[in-house]
Point group: C2
Chain length 560, copies 2
């Protein structure tokens, strides 16, 4: 079983050091500390275990070290920054694992960009050696890339020429869409196994600058000094704070909070967190995922929230939800359908949302909201079907109403003798954007935008008939049909081709505009899925299979 929980004192492959507003994330992969058997993590190559630590480090910088203004990512190995995903690990992994591995590394890269975009923290890739494949992809997730000019070190995407697959962490998309490298140069670069060194790499826009070995460290330090001094490190809504304090920001006025390990009680067919439960019905290939809403209490001030730290419901519940989703993805591949359920009082969720909205300019509350948004996007990108089941005692309101909107379908009991309600709040109007840049309400009502406004403007619970009339749910079976209808829906869904469902859901969930993120997940990932299945990559004569062997790949040259 793969565990997504870690913390800096348990890191095997990364060193995290914080000093003077700068976080230094140094990669030093221990080649024998692998997540699976049968491969060694040479040359700072990585497997999922290495990326889990990176994802954890980025999350911790945001919550535990809000004073950090710049993050530098570098390597402790001489002459090598990072060789990318380990090929032997890929060669011995199942297709489903490979795809989930690529997805998680993409989410980690997007988390870097999310931090940069929303918190203004600047990410600097200090390539003190060659960055190839996923190593260079990690670099292009950063805001700035500096490469040592030592006559040897290069940046490269050797996947196409060496492995017969694509750079799997959005590399091609970021090349032309983020760094806006000319497409013919991107073509040349992506077919050049050895990559490009300093001068040419800079000329083509692959890196921002290059420095000889003797000046490299100094140049990086100078740049970090400039970044922390002059780059406007402030949150988007901090104009007031920035005006008041010059280059000071409100983050600097607060201490971070500690992210403690999640407590989870795991049995054969369940996983119990404090606010989240997972129950597996493996014979029927579905799981119930229950989120328990917050308790009622008087509205808290930012200082009280800060004191509660990671025990504050929105942070705790969403960290647990995140862990549950990751667990479902990699540890429960045969679970095809997740029934999302909630338990609690709508009024409590709504007061909590009001509290979040009222304090959204406070750095911690903002980070918490951004975290909730990332977890909800993780749900959008999870290759399982989601049905929201809305029954008496549920609390699909406010932030938890997003679970209904994120579901592929929702079923809401229509029983006049029971109290069954849902309630959107203001937070659904922009706090939790999807990868396509729209809110889930906007995505739902692309053809009837007034309904998205109406849902927010309503500001009161909707019973089943009102919810149906407002277009907020899919089906409203009455109490006589309820159990049968849910049972049949589950049976039907789990009988369908899991591959067709994955493709269908990925297509239907992201209507409307596209962004770099949706391109990365929807387009590149789909291409990568396809190529990873092809005999030219993974067959006995495939390039991935034959990598590092004396034998050479033999291709079927038919173009598709």
């Amino acid at each position: 079983m793969i565990n997504f929980q870690t913390s800096p004192e348990r890191y095997k492959h990364w060193k995290l050091a914080i000093h003077g507003g700068v976080a230094r994330l140094s990669m030093d992969v221990q080649e024998d500390e692998t997540l699976g058997d049968g491969y060694k993590l040479k040359l700072n190559s990585y497997d999922l275990g290495v990326d889990i630590e990176l994802a954890d480090a980025i999350q911790r910088i945001r919550f535990e070290h809000p004073e950090v203004g710049a993050v530098v990512i570098t390597s402790l190995k001489p002459r090598i920054f990072c060789a990318g995903a380990n090929i032997y690990m890929l060669g011995t992994s199942s297709h489903a694992f490979k795809v989930n591995f690529c997805k998680f590394t993409n989410e980690t890269r997007c988390a870097i960009e999310d931090d940069s975009r929303h918190a203004g923290r600047r990410y600097v890739a200090a390539l003190n050696g060659t960055a190839s494949g996923g190593g260079y992809e990690l670099a292009i997730a950063c805001d700035e890339i500096y490469l040592v000019d030592d006559g040897n070190s290069a940046v490269s995407l050797p996947e196409v020429p060496l492995l017969g697959v694509l750079p799997g962490t959005g590399g091609l998309t970021r090349l032309v869409d983020k760094r806006k490298v000319r497409r013919d140069r991107a073509d040349v670069f992506s077919t050049l196994a050895e990559g490009l060194k300093g001068k040419r790499a800079k000329e083509w826009g692959l890196i921002d600058d290059t420095f000889p070995t003797s000046r490299f460290q100094e140049a990086i330090e100078n740049r970090l000094h400039d970044v922390t001094q002059t780059v406007s490190f402030r949150h988007p809504n901090d104009t007031q704070a920035a005006n008041d304090q010059g280059s000071q920001t409100d983050s600097l006025r607060y201490e971070g909070i500690k992210l403690n390990p999640l407590q989870v009680n795991s049995t054969e067919d369940s996983r119990e967190y404090k606010y989240v439960s997972l129950k597996f019905h493996r014979d029927k290939r579905y799981a119930d995922l229950v989120v328990r809403g917050p308790e009622c209490w008087p509205r808290k001030s930012p200082e009280e929230i800060q004191r509660m730290g990671d025990d504050y419901w929105p942070l705790r519940a969403y960290r647990e939800l995140d862990d549950a989703l990751l667990h479902l993805r990699v540890n429960e591949p045969e679970i095809g359908l997740v029934c999302l359920r909630t338990e609690g009082e709508i009024v409590n969720v709504v007061s909590l949302d009001d509290e979040l909205a009222a304090n959204r300019d406070h750095w911690l509350v903002r980070e918490i909201i951004l975290h909730m948004a990332r977890v909800l996007r993780r749900l959008d990108l999870t290759a399982k079907s989601f049905f929201a089941i809305i029954e008496p005692g549920s609390c699909f309101a406010g932030n938890l109403f997003e679970l209904v909107l994120a579901s592929d379908r929702s079923y809401m009991l229509n029983d006049p003798h029971e109290n069954v309600e849902i309630m959107p709040t203001e937070l659904s109007a922009g706090a939790f954007p999807m990868n396509n840049g729209l809110t889930r309400l906007e995505s739902r009502f692309l053809g009837e935008p007034k309904k998205a406004f109406a849902a927010i403007a309503h500001k009161a619970p909707l019973d089943t008939e009102a919810a149906e009339a407002a277009g907020l749910i899919t089906f409203a079976p009455d109490d006589l049909d309820w159990e049968d209808e849910i049972r049949v829906a589950i049976e039907e869904r789990t009988s369908l081709s899991p591959d067709a469902l994955t493709g269908m859901e990925a297509s239907l969930r992201f209507a409307g505009p596209e962004t770099m993120d949706t391109k990365i997940y929807g387009r590149l990932t789909a291409w990568q899925n396809w190529i990873f299945q092809r005999p030219n990559a993974v067959g006995p004569n495939g390039a991935l299979t034959n990598y590092g062997k004396p034998t050479k790949a033999q291709f079927d040259y038919k173009r598709t």
Copy 2:
């Protein structure tokens, strides 16, 4: 060998009738008239041969019948409109053929939408019976969909539940992006093998209206009458003409031109058209594609162009180029690289472009430019590598300069003793948009938009050094290196994994914004590629393999 040339008198599966400004396209598939062996085209199901006729009919309506204001697509079979792509044909086709088949049908659907968008012609799908799968996808490519309410007829996308694959002609994307069907309803609809009938289909936005059998024909005729009378059938630039003439348009003032069969001389290793040559180097897996530029003549008036008809260079050369591309796609799967070459005088191409630009408000010239744009988009979407080879005697100017921009790379000889030049013209500034909505210059210079402007503003030929400085070419080898460099580039390219190249090129060619078209080609097609390869679809126990057999599909339920 598959032949893409046809004409109405040779149609086997469609009837095209023109009367009173309305074109009636009636599907009546002859089940034994198949392109391949081993299947029958029952229930108006289609293979590539059926779609080639449809594509031809749409093209002919535009060129031969500009007076047509509405096109109604219907069926001559009782109770069935169209059952979609023939499953047994798919089951017996190679993967590469399936993917190219889906691509061509998508291009045909996009050609319908292109006509509707640019010429204002209204497409009406009159579903006199069930439209399932590709049948419904053909309907959603139209502007309006009407379904008979006979107690039986339905619209459906049964691919996921019945076949374990996706609706392959952009069905899912058009459902949520074009018709803006709510995503949960799209989810339900796309998993419902039997689809939805009149009332519910209308309520969910899957069709525009439904009429009982007794009133169906009359309702369609009324709608067509309204369309031709009141829907503004005019070209986007026709405001003047429309104002002058009321509901009359300039198209009505012109006769169509005849599209005669292309003459092609085919040998074992070449295909010779009038202005286009294809030469195959099959042992080296590449082909040369040469386009010969126009002759010099005095500028022609629209009337003279109209008299030249399909012999006018831009129409003839681009029809030939289109045919050559389609031939390469389906008849030459092992050709992985196409070297694009031109022969002629830059000055002639430039005067021709001036002539096109000066007459672009004339209906025929506008149709010719729109056709050139479609052919260039066909090139963008062709799964082959393209290298532009720029040598003495070439004429990569104006519209032919788009071939350089559309190429994955370009090589331009740098020899001071030779006259080697290129020259962009005004036509590159918007006449030939890519599927992403940008010009090829804009796509090339996403990061340096000024260079796109500068290329247009230059208005003079650029020699090799100037072209390189302007960022318009990739490589400029000198005469000593030229032959070796081209030879090595060809050898290297054709040695790479064809699958990885297809994915890489599809990713790099479409930087920048996404549109419904890029979603359909880039995202849905990639998913479809993947799913079409999976054992759950095409393995011995797969759903596609077992369709119509007494055996049932057995899935590996692991989610990917």
